[in-house]
């Protein structure tokens, strides 16, 4: 049998559209009738561990090279499976450790995932010939499936476990034929049977804006050439984070909730929780609120400042490289219009500065 191409595996699945590296690797292992841990130990030994780290994010080159060699996948196909493709698109400085903007946190504990970082659309899983997990399902910005107009889910509806498809078959010795990746590793519930919830729309205009952003990211992740401005998505992240938290007596989120008529707004009362570990529906609400503000920032941010829902200096705080239009808007429009109130409060004569105030709004 030396005639076989020595490097190619008999099962050499290629990555499916927008598939995650971990999903691809698990499919390959199960295709060989092996648990993914046994498969990887056999290939890479104990020194090169894979499953006790966020492999989609880490995506070491040696792993990609090896998979390319054994599956016949192209360089492009292999690289497209990693979250590294969002470097410079959603993330400014891609790091291997620590939180990353818009990349969901997995909260690794050895080989377990304690965070709900892996989301899924049950209807997409149903429609798949072979169930697999998409890259965009690891992004905090993606909370809904545009194809099926439903919310993504981030846990098993039956046992509330985080999705850990790499643990399918654990505790089941002598298993060779594995359940599909859509099976909950903890209770064997088929995630395809989960009932997808519709997206709650707070404001049509804001929702359309958010849909456009998510659609662009979906297209980019699928390998299409789409221009995504890092500064804009960073601003959106900043705004979502501001909406989600109450800072002292400033409550921007509640202000937007009042404006859009949302009665289910609950702020996050701690600064320690990152946006990337919020529950999916909560994140969706905050993002819709942030989108509502960004649809018409000059007016709506100004209104928020006037309503004392936010201080104007918070709008640029912690933003290292904001978009020029936003910086201009905050410095030359919102700040100068907020100043009279500030100055009035401190009994400063406004007459000399009257010309600077834009009374358009």
């Amino acid at each position: 049998m030396a005639r076989f191409h020595q490097d190619l595996w008999p099962i050499r699945y290629k990555p499916l559209e927008d598939e995650l590296l971990s999903s691809w690797l698990v499919r390959l292992a199960h295709g060989h009738g092996l648990k993914v841990q046994s498969f990887c130990n056999m290939l890479y030994g104990n020194k090169r561990q894979i499953w006790n780290r966020d492999i989609d994010r880490l995506a070491p080159q040696w792993l990609l090279d090896d998979l390319k060699l054994h599956t016949g996948a192209t360089q492009m196909q292999a690289e497209q499976t990693t979250l590294r493709i969002f470097d410079g698109v959603l993330v400014k400085h891609y790091r291997e450790a620590g939180p990353l903007q818009w990349i969901q946190l997995m909260q690794m504990y050895h080989r377990k995932r304690e965070g709900y970082g892996q989301q899924f659309c049950p209807i997409c899983l149903q429609e798949d010939k072979v169930s697999y997990f998409r890259k965009t399902w690891r992004l905090a910005i993606k909370t809904m499936c545009l194809k099926h107009n439903c919310m993504l889910m981030d846990r098993c509806p039956q046992c509330d476990s985080a999705v850990s498809y790499h643990r399918i078959g654990m505790g089941q010795p002598n298993h060779v034929e594995f359940d599909p990746l859509s099976t909950c590793h903890e209770c064997s519930f088929d995630l395809r049977a989960a009932s997808a919830k519709p997206v709650k729309v707070y404001n049509e205009e804001a929702f359309d804006w958010l849909r456009r952003v998510v659609s662009d990211i979906d297209d980019f992740s699928a390998g299409k050439s789409v221009k995504i401005d890092l500064k804009e998505v960073s601003l959106f992240h900043h705004m979502t984070a501001m909406v989600s938290k109450e800072r002292n007596r400033y409550h921007l989120g509640q202000h937007v909730a009042d404006m859009v008529g949302a009665d289910d707004y609950v702020p996050i009362n701690t600064n320690r929780v990152a946006l990337e570990s919020y529950q999916c529906h909560v994140r969706n609400q905050y993002m819709q609120f942030a989108a509502w503000l960004l649809v018409d920032p000059q007016v709506r941010l100004h209104q928020a400042c006037r309503a004392r829902a936010i201080r104007h200096n918070f709008l640029l705080r912690d933003m290292k490289d904001p978009p020029a239009w936003y910086e201009d808007c905050v410095n030359n429009r919102i700040a100068t219009r907020a100043r009279p109130f500030f100055e009035r409060r401190h009994k400063i004569n406004l007459d000399s500065r009257a010309d600077e105030i834009d009374l358009t709004y």
Binding site: R3, G33, M42, L43, V176
Partner: protein, 331 residues
Amino acid sequence: MTNIEATPSAKPKVKKTQSKQVSETKDQKSDLAHDLPYPHLNSVARDLMKESDAVRIRAIRQGSWLPLPHAKEAIERMEMLLDYPPVTRMPSLLLVGASFSGKSTILERFLSLHPPDVDPASEIMTCPVVMIDAPPRPDIADFYSRILDAIMAKYQSRAASYEKYSQIKLMFRQLGVKMLIIDEIHHLIAGSLNRQREFRNALKSLSNETKVCLVAAGIDEAYNAFNADPQMSSRFIPLKLPSWRTDQNTGILLATLQKRIPVKYPSDLDSPESLLTIVNRAEGSLGDIFDLVKEVAVAAIQSGEEKLSLKLIKGIDWVPPSRRKNYRPPL
């Protein structure tokens, strides 16, 4: 009636015309061959005559596939098995022949006719035929490991045999394996009767559960080993490979070989004296006949004689197979 009568009278006419045409084309071909240099050789050997001695010797030693009648029959039987639909009791074949009678060559030839698909673009390798050597003793885990190695599957070498068996079933289904060839099946007897029985049962289960046809090959002892189990002996239809004597078949074989050996002058291989000498010296073993002729051909090139003469066949240093175990070369 007229039609019926007319048909037999018409048939011979057609046959005659066909045979005329065939003989004409044959004559034309032979005329053409006579026009070319080295008319005693076929086209491949004639092309090799342009090469250096070293290349010719290498080509001779490498040999080539010779579609002998028994080999053709074996391959046809295997083709039939390969195309067999999945049934409850899959038929199997036992190729029995003396040592060096061409069993492995037939199996390898069949394997080369049905190679696995190694296209990197495909997602799953298609592998209709898998060939392994039986393990040196009837060890089931070793047998399963050899199968997994043959299909280049990743597996845990220390896994229990039932795990390997499950993995084989999965892989066979995915790769579309239809036939498992086990060469040297007589290794089966190198174990206790219980072990032999276990091994035979493993073969039976594998065939039953995966719906794969088994083709086993071995010496006469393999036949005895299979006969010990009536279920196995009824399942494995034996096919005995012939031994070679001084008869017409051997004459045809040597005449064919003569055309394929790239030497400058026509040889005496097909003469009765050469035939008798070769068969006697090779003791009727097909592999030894080939090896002897190859060595004579190499000696013919090296000596510059460029002809497989009777003198060379008689004079070449050759130890008959039966004397090899006691043979001590002269100092």
